[in-house]
Symmetry: C2
Subunit: 630 residues, 2 copies
């Protein structure tokens, strides 16, 4: 019998010690959400739990040593992700305080602001991250809140000029936060320099709104009952000039604005880019919650029997349709785990370098955006399926699945709406592509595309040599079971990405010269095509990460199992997009049918390992906390 330990180690990645610590430490804390509490009580309880976390080391890990932290960003993100296995309200509260609010202070502020960090770590200073407004969430560059410099008092005046400029959905704003990191348009000497971040005290020691500040409560939500989301309006609130987080732009006491980054757009995106950790945490947490849900539904499917078979009542997992419902989702969760481990390691490396490469940084942001979108989409779909796969029992709160679903539901929206994020990834890909083909006329571009395969797509996102070797060694399409060959799968993914980018680029190549209305029309008509770029790119990234992860696994039995899981992931992705592969002559009718047949073979092969596969997730059985599992 293969040991789950080796499988778990393979999936746990570099911050295994953080995972192992959390598994025991958090299990001892009684973190399960209590549905019988009122909103206010639930929030107080989660705040209490947050205080218990201070000593675990996770909060300090997120900050640099010179600011009072321990300088382990990978550990910090992994620690937050582990919270998601226990309670998502707590995960979000932690993410807001230490990740978003603390991250803004550390990354956008300078020394004088960093003095706040010890208080942020130990919760003596509770903050919130006031970016989104009622009128603007996705398009944050168009935020309306203003911070106007008044040289006569050396202060900024923070103001909400319209109903739409109200800060909205802000975690911590309804009850707990004393201070807000407020994103507002910096105006000085009559000029609007775009959105910057300011430290604005909002409540006094008694929790009452300060003068000019009006907070209110978003009330009940679809889930996350322990998070006090609220709204903030500012009526000419004065703050010292020093409250501008001034790492990337400064205002002197005369009101003169200066920044080393000239373009307003570039400056804004540089600032936003430093906050990448939020997306990494949300993607990882969505995945962690999904693993819990699949662990619950998978274990139930191994216990529950229904309808008579040849030898008594049949266990659910023995039904082909039930295997089809759960195993491909488990495979996808495996794939995302490898991709997330890779992303966290890369983030950690970049964020601990003294002089990180701006291109690597930008790639990290794009990768984090795309993975967040795909992981949260997977979470929504997989947790829903897990709930339904448990029937009526799945609908009871005591079995947790509905809570996991309700709590993660907003993950597709916050830290960037998934559709917007996938477009961001696509734009990055298209820009890189355009650079490659720069200067080519349309005909030249087609020739280029056909003849040389754009390097931008061929660039490996992981274990480059290995992946190229696999692709080069792939069998012919007429060989039996060629679809199970990793090189074939990698090549199908890569080829699809290449084609989708090229054809989109061709559709859009004249947009630059068109008038604005025409250009909008061209882009809008191609919008679903553009979104597909983001999706297929990330699907390739994930497959490459899975492939690289298997190569690192030293236990041959476990590696074999992972190889089957990886094929199940790859073929499920291909099956979901089968029509595309057929329309574009990448799969013949017969090979398309073979995709489904191979998936069914894999299900038969993997079925006996269901329990082991669940144990691989490393959610200890006694922390699943689902009554139906006994």
């Amino acid at each position: 019998m293969t040991s789950p330990q080796a499988l778990r180690e393979s999936l746990d990645g570099k911050w295994r010690h953080v995972r192992e610590q959390s598994r025991t430490e958090l299990a001892a804390m009684d973190l399960a959400y209590d549905h019988s509490l009122s909103l206010h009580e639930a929030r107080e309880r989660v705040l209490g739990q947050l205080k218990q976390l201070v000593d675990t080391g996770t909060p300090a890990a997120g900050f640099r040593t010179e600011n009072g932290g321990t300088g382990d960003p990978g550990g910090a993100v992994t620690g937050i992700e582990m919270l998601a296995q226990f309670d998502l309200s707590l995960m979000v509260k932690a993410g807001v305080q230490w990740g978003l609010f603390g991250g803004a202070i550390e990354n956008l502020g300078t020394e004088r602001h960093h003095a706040m960090i010890p208080g942020i770590i130990d919760l003596s200073l509770l903050g919130c991250f006031a970016m989104t407004e009622t009128g603007h969430g996705s398009d944050v560059q168009s935020l309306e809140t203003t911070a106007t410099y008044d040289p006569s008092t050396d202060e900024f005046v923070v103001h909400s000029p319209t109903p739409g400029s109200r800060k909205d959905y802000i975690g911590g704003a309804a009850e707990h936060a004393r201070v807000a990191a407020v994103f507002a348009r910096l105006i000085t000497l009559g000029e609007d320099h775009g959105v910057h971040c300011f430290v604005v005290p909002i409540r006094d020691q008694n929790g009452d709104d300060l003068t000019g500040v009006t907070t209110s409560d978003c009330g009940h939500k679809g889930g996350l009952g322990g998070v006090d989301n609220g709204r903030i309006m500012f009526d000419q609130v004065r703050i010292p000039r020093e409250n501008l987080l001034d790492r990337y732009a400064q205002v002197d006491d005369q009101g003169t604005y200066s920044s080393l980054i000239e373009s307003q757009g570039a400056r804004f995106f540089t600032m936003i880019g430093t906050l990448v950790r939020g997306r990494v945490s949300v993607g990882g947490s969505a995945s962690a919650a999904t693993e819990v849900a699949l662990s619950i539904a998978g274990r139930y499917a191994l216990l529950r029997r229904q309808f008579s078979g040849p030898s008594g009542e049949v266990v659910l997992m023995d039904y082909r349709v039930h295997q089809r419902r759960l195993l491909p989702l488990i495979a996808r969760s495996y794939a995302f785990r490898f991709a997330q481990n890779q992303l966290v390691a890369r983030m950690h490396r970049i964020q601990t370098e003294s002089d990180p490469d701006p291109i690597a940084q930008r790639e990290l942001e794009s990768r984090a955006a795309g993975l967040k979108a795909m992981q949260t989409e997977h979470a929504t779909r997989a947790i829903q399926e897990a709930r339904e796969a448990c029937g009526g029992a799945g609908y009871l709160a005591e079995n947790r699945l509905t809570t996991l679903k309700a709590d993660t539901d907003v993950f597709t929206t916050f830290e960037g709406d998934n559709h917007v994020l996938l477009q961001l990834v696509a734009k990055e890909m298209l820009t890189s592509y355009a650079k490659e083909v720069d200067g080519l006329d349309p005909l030249g571009m087609v020739r280029f595309a056909a003849a040389s395969m754009a390097d931008i797509v061929k660039e490996r996102t992981a274990a480059g040599n290995l992946i190229q070797r696999l692709i080069d060694a792939r069998p012919g399409a007429d060989e039996e079971h060629d679809l199970l060959d990793r090189g074939t799968q990698l090549s199908l993914f890569e080829d699809r990405e290449q084609h989708v980018i090229e054809t989109a680029a061709r559709r859009l190549q004249n947009a630059d010269n068109a008038d604005p209305a025409e250009a909008f029309e061209m882009f809008n008509n191609a919008q679903d095509h553009v979104l597909k770029i983001g999706r297929v790119h990330i699907e390739r990234v994930v497959l490459e990460a899975f492939t690289a992860g298997i190569a690192r696994c030293e236990d041959e039995e476990i590696a074999d199992l992972l190889r089957d899981m990886c094929s199940l992931y790859a073929l499920s992705v291909i099956e979901d997009d089968k029509a595309w592969f057929m329309e574009h002559n990448r799969l013949s009718d017969d090979r398309a049918k073979a995709v489904t047949a191979e998936i069914n073979n894999l299900l038969t092969k993997l079925r006996p390992h269901t329990e082991l596969l669940i144990e691989g997730f490393g959610v200890p059985e006694d922390t699943l906390d689902a009554a139906m599992l006994g």
Copy 2:
């Protein structure tokens, strides 16, 4: 400008008067779910609302005049469906009391039981429907609760012999129900006659459990907070012999069992069949809730602007991706409305006939099962998409979408798990098919299939002549825009169904002669194929109902709009299953691409009518109750 009135009338169907009455009457009742209440308070509130409904006529409509009702089953089902537009807890409470519990008493009982009906209508007798057990939900024939006749006292002894035999998830069992319609195995003179229904008092006037009865509470659920779902264990509970609902089977005072239906299976399914109204109501209610969600998300998409376009910020609905997200779902909801209207009319006709045709009854059951599965699946998907399409605002309870999602979530499970229901439809289709090809050897079967198109599939489910005419008049596949032709669409749907049934039948034809383990294996390997039969059959039924509905529309402008919506429905269904059509040579690569192109054309054409299309649902704007709509 086309009037929404004519569109609404077309969609409202035969029980328009009930819909119109509900729209004003229910709006005046303050039915919106209140999330600030505790579970107990929410339940009390919904019970109070239920009492307000007594005088609306909906409860009485569900019962025959001779029993104290007004004999309008179509009106009763439509009335329940309308409740779903306001609050789903109330809809479920009403469905349990008047539909399931009342329906069991009326349809399975005889005169002496019918005396309870006036009390059921006016709520002086609150009941519950105790079918599902912890161990058996989908496979109700295997329920374990026993009702053993004791001739010495002329009583049945109701008993829960195992932990798995506990009645579970029973609406009303936690607090309100005084009496239960209990499904239990009837045992007399040492013989088990299978599952029958018994009237069992469970609580006294004070709400305390009666001797031998132990009720408990399912607690918090994913939604439906106003429904008091609970559990019941019976410890040798004695009830008079007369409490057997004895329309289909009787036991005399000697304990002799008799029934006009000889086979235990046939008897059970005859009894269950009389309860078809539950499924019709759940499907209709899921659709109604979906219409509310799409009305909210659709109206928000017409208000909300984000990101700059050529002339200011762009309204969400102008984005192609947003059109793609919402309009096909709206088209599908239109399609289901026509199918539901047809189903309700058929149900009404059969249930008001003095001597209904058993074949028609069986078809009704199958249709209701399949439509319930597809409508509730659509609800889950569409409400989720509506929530996401409204971003952060969509996550606030004040905008209702999360409540609609949470409340309808269990609809895919209760009144029959969707997977089980689709298999039921498939079995019905395969049985009919087998009858047609009976006696043919495998070769003969292939010949038969190729030569004559099985009549069972060709049988029209609505407006037979019209649909045949459309199919006969369809253009060639090489004609431009042929995919927009209704005959082409109908023929693609019909042909797919035919092929899926035939190939499944061929895969399974040897199962009868195989040993049980082999037969199970054969069936299990084909399980996803079998499920597909149910799905494609219902998709055809729905398309035919939509087609017939348009033919009845007298307003030409509205009919034009409906024609486009019908094409959007048909092409969306084809797009979702494009790989199948290509694998089976029903669509060439080019025509497959044309499907997507035609959908995009339809979106452009329908976009200007979005508001009208939403108004067609007939959910008055002031009852949408979503704060973000202002």
